[in-house]
Amino acid sequence: MAAKHLDTNNNSPEAHSCLEEVEVRGHIIDSLILPKVLDCITTAGGSFQIKHITVGQNRTDPSSAVIEIRAENDVALQKIVAQVSDHGATVTSSCDCELVVADVDGAFPEGFYSTTNQRTEIKRNDTWHAVAHQEMDCGITVDPNTSQARCIAMSDVQQGMPIVVGHSGTRVFPLERTEQDHAFGFMSSPVSTEKPKGVMIRQIARQLFDNRAGSGKTLLVGGPAIVHTGSGSLICDLIRDGYVHKLFAGNALATHDIEQSLFGTSLGVNVDQGDLVDAGHEHHLRAINRIRRAGSIANAVEQDILQSGIMYECVKNKIEFQLAGSIRDDGPLPDVVTDALENQGRMRASIGDVTFCLMIATTLHSIAVGNLLPAWVNVVCVDINPSTVIKLSDRGSFQTVGLVTDVEPFLRSLLAEIRRLEQSEHST
């Protein structure tokens, strides 16, 4: 019987950046070899995590445990590994990773290594190599000459590519919660409707502010509720002031934003007054048509057809935007990419420098982007519906911090916090 569980000792692991995985086999529980090995690790100043343990059912059945050992530097780590080896522990990754050449386009060889969104390394010629473009649910391909490794999506596999199979010669560096503490230390539970939102919003404002000052890029993934709730102008402010560097959205957000700009309505509702406008249900279609006639959103801006709104600000401020289509789209707008794989590829190419991602009022788009982001990119998901955030975490984007709130008051508070930061910066 195999049982998976995560058991960690109390030694603080945040300073322990060097790790090695070992296996102990045999009657490790009856013989106290397992507790002895664990004690040995902590006595020597290391920390451990039991990655996997199998307990024999019968008296003669052996058990086994895979233990990840961490230490603050390689010398300390090798000392611990040598000590536990005396008690029969063996290093699991003493061999190179196994490579099998892809035999067809668009599919991995059987038994391929399936990636997580955590920092990963592979061993080649006795040396560990970092895997680039870390992304969950991919495979790993390795350049045979340079041993450089990178994640590769199934659909991008080409015949002849060397692909990592099995788990030997691979290792994953799980992101410790403490590593996120500097950014979101207060967010001890990932999603709650009952949290003081002011503190969280202040932290998000700080991250946007710092990103603007530094080299990190902020990505906004937004749904049409931003426009429906009348928050479009707040996003415009963020874009104009340099707090948003990229926008991923669908046909709906862009359409309703343009509808509002051209007709003052969103889905036919007057955004300022909240009342229905005669023939307002036609507005979004007329908006799409007008942009299609112009050829693109950028052309519409250039021709003064589009003179305000989120998409207008994106064009004016040279903000990269990716609009992805869906089967329920009207139009769609000419900038919308309707091929799902092409969208994935474009988003993948764009996220390399993203360090912070704000997902607002969109479920499917958030999950799609969450799938692409490595675990070390901080993600904040804002939605009126708690299940959106839960879905995101359930699909592996565990680093997501959720904020359950209406979009408009959130953005208004966020902007106020940013203004406060700007003022305090200015006054110092």
Partner: protein, 265 residues
């Protein structure tokens, strides 16, 4: 057993050995013969391995292999001084109807010196001469439970110098040769443990040969013998001082071919 024709202290591979404290060959031979007679008198039959010149420790046949039913897992000696013994043990065991297996991978393993059955469980000493990883693989090979015990005192470099199963649930042991984990494992899995005083452990009290209820040890272990008598055993003392100079005694000079007395199988 292997006659001590070529026995002597020719190198130093444990704290007992000193080439300056040579064994008296004539006395050693008499002691070996006396042990042999004690064993026969206790009911044992003895087969002999021919001695080989240049292999002084071949006399310590306990280290040849571990025997389980008709299988023998051959030793792989830690020190090269004894590695020359391996082919002689291999040949003899194979010629006597045993299926001989090598110790898995490149682990050190010193036979019954470090692997003793008590009931269904194989207790296995490690760190000083045998490797813990090898014990686990031997357990898997034989389909038995193995409980490795770390040996922490270099004077008790083999498990048979500090632990001796008497019957399935009773054993004598010297607590000081083990760490806390080892002592806890022994206490948990052997219901009657007879502790040996350090002064007698140094006389190799634990290095006993058990034949039925007869327990044969080196002389100089009166306290243990009293405990054994009270527990219903018949202890016999026979002087083996010349072999203690090499770090061995009664048990080390024998390899039980039909399973230790305490072995369940």
């Amino acid at each position: 057993m292997c006659p001590p024709d070529y026995y002597g202290i020719e190198y130093e591979i444990n704290p007992w050995m000193s080439t300056e404290k040579q064994a008296d060959h004539a006395v050693a031979l008499r002691q070996w013969q006396a042990l042999r007679e004690c064993l026969i008198e206790a009911g044992a039959g003895i087969s002999e391995l021919p001695p080989v010149s240049g292999l002084p420790d071949l006399v310590f046949t306990a280290n040849a292999a571990i025997i389980y039913q008709q299988k023998a897992i051959l030793a792989r000696f830690k020190h090269e001084q004894r590695q020359g013994e391996e082919p002689h043990f291999r040949r003899w065991l194979a010629n006597h109807g045993l299926q001989v297996f090598d110790t898995p991978s490149d682990f050190s393993f010193e036979g019954a010196g470090d692997a003793l059955f008590c009931g269904e469980t194989l207790f296995a000493g490690y760190r000083l001469r045998s490797d813990a990883g090898g014990h686990q693989q031997i357990g898997e090979l034989l389909g038995i439970r193995v409980l490795p015990l770390e040996l922490v005192d270099p004077y008790y470099y083999h498990l048979d110098t500090c632990f001796c199963p008497l019957v399935e649930d009773e054993a004598i042991y010297f607590p000081g040769a083990f760490d806390d984990y080892g002592r806890r494992v022994l206490a948990e899995h052997v219901s009657h443990l007879i502790p040996v005083d350090e002064s007698e452990a140094r006389s190799f009290a634990c290095n006993a040969v058990v034949v039925g209820r007869t327990v044969i040890t080196n002389s100089g272990c009166p306290l243990l013998h009293e405990q054994l008598r009270q527990a219903g055993y018949s202890p016999i003392a026979t002087p083996l001082g010349e072999f203690v100079k090499a770090g061995g005694s009664a048990k080390c000079l024998t390899l039980r071919l039909d399973g230790e007395e305490a072995a369940h199988w």
